[in-house]
């Protein structure tokens, strides 16, 4: 094997009392795709931030092509040939694709060299199969295209090693295939790639070698990911066996939530077209679909954030079409939003405040307009204990919690009030196996108690495991509904592209 492109030796990074990374060794050879696995908080992001220059390591060294280098910031990292595609993109939405590529690249006598940029973009596009229209505004690009632009941006700046932080979390299944093809082509032409993911099947399909982190240390290395089972890798990540939850048979009861002919529009046109669906007590209805086909609008309508233009919605037989979020909650609707940090919680305030937020006006937490701080604190403390939410305490800033713990806190605040209907979006996005498992168990327990649950998700395997029925959304409509017993990833995938719809309509 040739000399490694990048080698990290004995990297240690300490935050206060926490060793985020401890003596981590890692190397990537040219042409190699390295998987970096680990639960949330295992130290993957810290390690990559050290490599990309955002943090200075407390010990250890980084070698690029055998030479030690000091990386103090992202400019140093780029100069050393290291490019990173973050989970959250760093693009200027009001500029075009080409302009985004040229940001920070000096041309002749301070002018922007568009022609050279175009030529270089064309070259990269053809070399790796990453096509992009240079004149489109970034705001007009799909999430997948924005990610492609981030990759091209790194290559444009001469990256020889590309770090991708959970790149598939935001992609539809068909887009994942395109990304993988591009990554394989880059590796074949001698680039090194570090691929961070939770999704074990993707890691097994794509990577040549894996490093598994646990509690900041290397817990194991996998030399043949394709020949290793997911269960084995999960055991390395968690340190113990992971058993999938058991879904008991249940007989659904009366309808708890119905939508009848719901349509609604946003700035960009129709979001939902004539959507009708029923959720019964003790049933989980999965909503599948490529992101951007109306799932968000559906969640917003049901949770009262977006009033529908037409159609009716009922909860337990009562018409609630134009109800506010507060009125819906009072009727027993529980909601877990897609975006925990922006819609669910108030990151700058104490965790307890976020946990009581939807019910602050009820007598549980206040009376006659005066807060009951003791009750608020006691509620938060009880839920922290019951859900094993890892945090310094109820008065700690919510933003200091990890994603899994935030999701547990959101779940606790809804489930504490025994909802009759629960609508959740992307419940385990970005969570590690252990936390996802916990959330799944809670859903199944609520189902057993007779709660009707809608799960909107992009992870088809998760939907198949949880749901009794799965509805597929395509271009704002329900393209079809399948019983889970009849549903397969392949069949759902086909319906998600709109193909199933014409077939069934015929």
């Amino acid at each position: 094997m040739s000399a490694p492109l990048i080698e990290m030796r004995g990297i240690t990074k300490i935050f206060g009392a926490v060793k985020a990374n401890e003596a981590v060794d890692l190397s990537v050879a040219p042409g190699e795709i390295l998987g970096l696995l680990g639960e949330n908080g295992a130290g993957k992001t810290t390690l990559m931030n050290v490599l990309f220059g955002a943090y200075a390591p407390d010990a250890g060294e980084i070698l690029v092509e055998g030479r030690p280098v000091a990386i103090h910031n992202s400019a140093d990292a780029l100069a050393a040939g290291i490019g990173m595609v973050h989970q959250h993109f760093h693009l200027a939405p009001r500029l075009t694709v080409l302009e985004n590529l040229l940001i920070g690249i000096p041309g002749k006598s301070g002018r922007i060299d568009r022609a050279r940029g175009l030529a270089r973009l064309d070259e990269i596009s053809r070399q790796y199969g990453l096509s992009l229209d240079p004149n489109l505004l970034v705001s007009a690009l799909s999430v997948g295209e924005q990610q492609r632009l981030e990759i091209v941006k790194a290559l444009f700046r001469g990256a020889k090693l590309l770090i991708l932080d959970e790149p598939t979390a935001v992609l539809a299944p068909s887009e994942v295939d395109g990304l993988f093809a591009a990554l394989r082509s880059m590796a074949a032409q001698g680039l090194g790639i570090i691929f961070i993911s939770h999704k074990l099947n993707e890691v097994r399909a794509l990577t040549h070698r894996c490093v598994v982190l646990r509690h900041g240390k290397v817990a194991g290395r996998v030399d043949h990911p394709a020949g290793t089972t997911s269960a084995e890798m999960a055991r390395l990540m968690c340190g113990h066996e992971i058993v999938p939850p058991v879904k008991e048979a249940s007989t659904p009861g009366a309808a708890v939530l119905t939508l009848d002919g719901i349509s609604t529009a946003g700035h960009a046109g129709m979001l939902l077209r004539d959507v009708s669906l029923v959720v019964r007590a003790g049933e989980i209805l999965g909503i599948a679909g490529v992101s951007g086909n109306g799932q968000r609008a559906l969640a917003d309508v049901i949770s009262g954030m977006l009033p529908p233009r037409a159609g009716t919605m009922t909860i337990a037989g009562k018409t609630v079409t134009q109800f506010s979020p507060r009125e819906l909650q009072a009727l027993g609707l529980g909601r877990i939003p897609e975006d925990r940090m922006t819609t669910g919680l108030v990151t700058n305030l104490p965790l307890a405040d976020s946990m009581v937020l939807p019910r602050i006006g009820t007598e549980a937490f206040s009376s006659k307009g005066l807060l009951n701080p003791a009750a608020i604190r006691a509620f938060a403390e009880a839920q922290i204990k019951a859900y094993d939410i890892r945090c310094p305490g109820p008065m700690a800033r919510a933003g200091a919690l990890s994603g899994g713990n935030l999701q547990k806190a959101l779940l606790a605040r809804e489930l504490a009030f025994d909802p009759k209907v629960l609508i959740v979006s992307q419940p385990t996005r970005g969570l590690d196996i252990g936390a996802a498992r916990f959330i799944h168990e809670k859903f199944l327990a609520m189902r057993a108690k007779g709660c009707g649950i809608i799960v909107i998700g992009e992870d088809l395997e998760e939907l198949l495991m949880l749901s009794d029925r799965i509805a597929v959304m395509y271009e704002g409509r329900i393209a079809g509904t399948l019983d889970s017993a009849d549903a397969t990833v392949a069949r759902l995938g086909l319906m998600m592209t709109g193909a199933g719809q014409t077939e069934e309509a015929a």
């Binding site: 937020l357 939807p358 206040s366 200091a400």
Partner: protein, 351 residues
């Protein structure tokens, strides 16, 4: 080489230490200006301190100056908590002054007059603040710009009043007629100007703290300010919270004007406020938007103002220095606030 690194948590003592550090930095920075003006730094600050807090009369004068800035500071602190960017406390103060002066000029029993003056002044301030809040809620108009520009509208409307229909016929100057003697706020200590309004201001601060920290409205204001989307998702009527905050904020700024008319000037003139509304922003920032912190912050600025005049007389340093100190204090505080979110870290010696 140094660089900023994000903090994961902020130590609690920072809340108290930051304003003190900012003030210390301000005094050090401004000592250079005093030296340039040709005076002794220690002597100048000494005069400033003794003239503002050196004896009981000086203290009462400083408190009289602090009272309007306590009100405007509270107005700004509460508005900023909801991220309603009320830069219009100055105009709201003026509106409160005009309304209370108008009521105070009507003959009636003194106690009734004072209560009605306060109500009228608060209502006028609240109405003025409602304009930018409504524009923002209904039409998404930037509240920084609209509330700031409204200050000029109110100021020139006031000028038009006292130059025209409301001009005091007795003196002939561009000032309003005085309020009735019975409506003058009682003086609490004989021989000083310490009036009832100062006590009301000192009581208002803990009341505002209670409102923010212990009531559901305060909870909704805090949540709306920190994350309006989560607030709406959690069932809070964000628009109503913003409008309520604006009314409250405007009313507090209006009360600043009431105190100036009822307790200090007894009439309205063009320079009734030397920028107390803008100073309220400095006060609120120094207090880190905590209503309890508004009182010491306002007293500090008031001391700089009263002390600055004495310093100017004694040492020849221009009285403008107190404005410079005020502005520098705001800048220093804004820089200091950076350190609640970031820390400075030394990185490798290479260049």
């Amino acid at each position: 080489m140094f660089r900023l690194e994000a903090r994961t948590s902020t130590p609690a003592w920072f809340n108290l230490a930051l304003p003190l550090i900012a003030i210390a930095a301000t005094l050090i920075l401004c000592s250079g200006l005093i030296a340039i003006a040709g005076a002794g730094v220690i002597e100048a600050y000494g005069v400033m301190l003794s003239a503002s807090l050196g004896d009981s009369y000086a203290i009462t004068e400083t408190l009289v100056r602090a009272a309007p800035m306590i009100f405007t500071g509270l107005a700004v602190a509460i508005a900023f908590r909801a991220k309603f960017w009320n830069i219009g406390a100055e105009g709201q103060l003026l509106a409160g002054a005009v309304a209370s002066c108008f009521v105070g000029a009507i003959p009636m029993p003194g106690t009734l007059a004072m209560v009605l003056m306060a109500l009228a002044g608060a209502a006028a301030g609240a109405l003025v603040a409602l304009v930018p809040a409504t524009l923002r809620v209904k039409f998404k108009v930037d509240d920084v710009v609209s509330s700031l520009l409204l200050n000029s509208v109110i100021y020139y409307a006031l000028m038009a009043l006292i130059e025209g229909p409301w001009k005091d016929t007795f003196s002939g100057y561009p000032i309003s007629p005085p309020i009735e003697d019975s409506a003058n706020f009682p003086v609490l200590i004989e021989g000083t100007r310490l009036h009832l309004g100062v006590v009301v201001a000192l009581i208002a601060a803990p009341l505002c703290w209670f409102l923010i920290a212990r009531t559901t409205l305060g909870f909704r204001i805090r949540v709306t300010g920190e994350n309006p989307e989560a607030a709406r998702y959690g069932g809070i009527n964000v628009q109503r919270v913003l409008l309520s905050t604006a009314l409250l904020s405007g009313a507090l700024a209006g009360l600043a004007g009431v105190g100036e008319v009822g307790g200090v000037h007894f009439q309205v003139m063009s320079d009734i406020s030397p920028g107390y509304g803008y100073s309220g922003i400095v006060v609120a920032m120094l207090a880190r938007l905590n209503p309890l912190g508004v009182v010491p912050a306002a007293i500090f600025l008031a001391a700089v103002m009263t002390g600055g005049e004495a310093m100017s007389r004694a040492t020849g340093v221009p009285a403008f220095l107190s404005d410079v100190i005020q502005g520098t204090a705001l800048l220093a505080m804004l820089v200091a606030l950076l350190f609640t979110a970031y820390r400075i870290r030394r990185v490798g010696a290479q260049t």
